[in-house]
Symmetry: C2
Subunit: 234 residues, 2 copies
Amino acid sequence: MTQSNETTSYRDIKETVLARIRSGQWQPDSLLPNEQELAVEFSCTRTTVNRALRELADEGFLERRRKAGTRVLSAPQRQARFTIPMVRDEVEALGGTYRYALVSSATKRAPDWLCARLALKPDQDVMHVRCMHFNGNTPFQYENRWIVVDSVPQVVNADFASIGPNEWLIQTVPFTNVELSFLASRADESMAAFLDLPIGEPVFTGERITWLEGQPVTFAKMYFAAGYRMTTQY
Amino acid sequence: MTQSNETTSYRDIKETVLARIRSGQWQPDSLLPNEQELAVEFSCTRTTVNRALRELADEGFLERRRKAGTRVLSAPQRQARFTIPMVRDEVEALGGTYRYALVSSATKRAPDWLCARLALKPDQDVMHVRCMHFNGNTPFQYENRWIVVDSVPQVVNADFASIGPNEWLIQTVPFTNVELSFLASRADESMAAFLDLPIGEPVFTGERITWLEGQPVTFAKMYFAAGYRMTTQY
DNA sequence: CAGTGGTCTAGACCACATG
DNA sequence: ATGTGGTCTAGACCACTGT
């Protein structure tokens, strides 16, 4: 009861609607009563009903269209929200002590595969940074990152010995778009060495591309140590 | 311009606020003006400002607390939303033809590790279903699933030869809570055979546990074929 | 205790998509 | 043409929480 007395809140409406969907009272693909009718049923204003249904639609339970009305989605298009924390926060949330170490950093002509991947011109420079993230002294993540110099000219003066490229970028460059992928890859020689596992071992891997207003900013591959899992609940 | 004339919409406010954050005009950790002041600046009502700021907080850009006010989050706690489609939809979205095949299905006493994982009593029965999902004739996903019979008694009559356990469950049992994990595992003998890849190969793997009002319903392991990646943009 | 966000009301106009 | 959701206003009361 967040609301004072016995008014119907948008939360109550959300719960009731969800319960009706779960109980089968409102079948998949069926049409709900319109907002005005629900407002009468719940004795509240249409505004309140609107908020409840709008949020349920955002969460993937309903589909709403003007004039067509509100439908129960047959295959609940449920979305898992994964919070993507910075490595430091992730380690500290595990109760560990975060430690960062630079492996190498160099500016060079962008390799062909990267030009293709980021739609760079063939003569553009990138800074290639490799680094490690530790939980105490246990390897946690090996990071392989390329930063487009034309998009972030200041990067040539960055000191990646003392700060991780990700944290530096967040402080320095805003971004507008991100593509994030996860996959399983196999440990090559250097991944195996840095993460302390046998060559060929499965490695949970994240790839992240970041743009600022259409300009590619950075491409990062993140290799996680053995046993890592990305989890969410809803 | 979704709104008729030149009124300020909550979308405009969101964009303006984001722009100010990105430009550094509003620094991380700094306090925004309160809703009343912003309403005056944007010449709209507080309700409209509230909606804009509330959504930005939902999206992880702001932190709002009564009395304390609204702050710019220093490390934008950005959340990636992955849509978790049903396998059939995923295959069809790739332009392929979905095909399902049952591998085995049997009811038995729940194994110890599963009892521990789902907090079952040691004498509870589960139905163990193994099945394959194909894209045309190419292996797409190998699924290993256990369904708690006490939670879904009808399962003993289900015909998993003609319908996949996931689709059957969605049609049959509502759920209230889900835990979803992703990890990289290595192909054992049967995974390798079903997915047509060498033993020991990295396999992108999903694990999903579903509850209904605290009752465990099902545990599923989903092994994806080589090259699979889970992607999102934001 | 006082300031801030959280929510609701009652009403209005409008955009959009369907029939 | 019309019904439905999308959004805004103007105002109100309240819940929470920092001082």
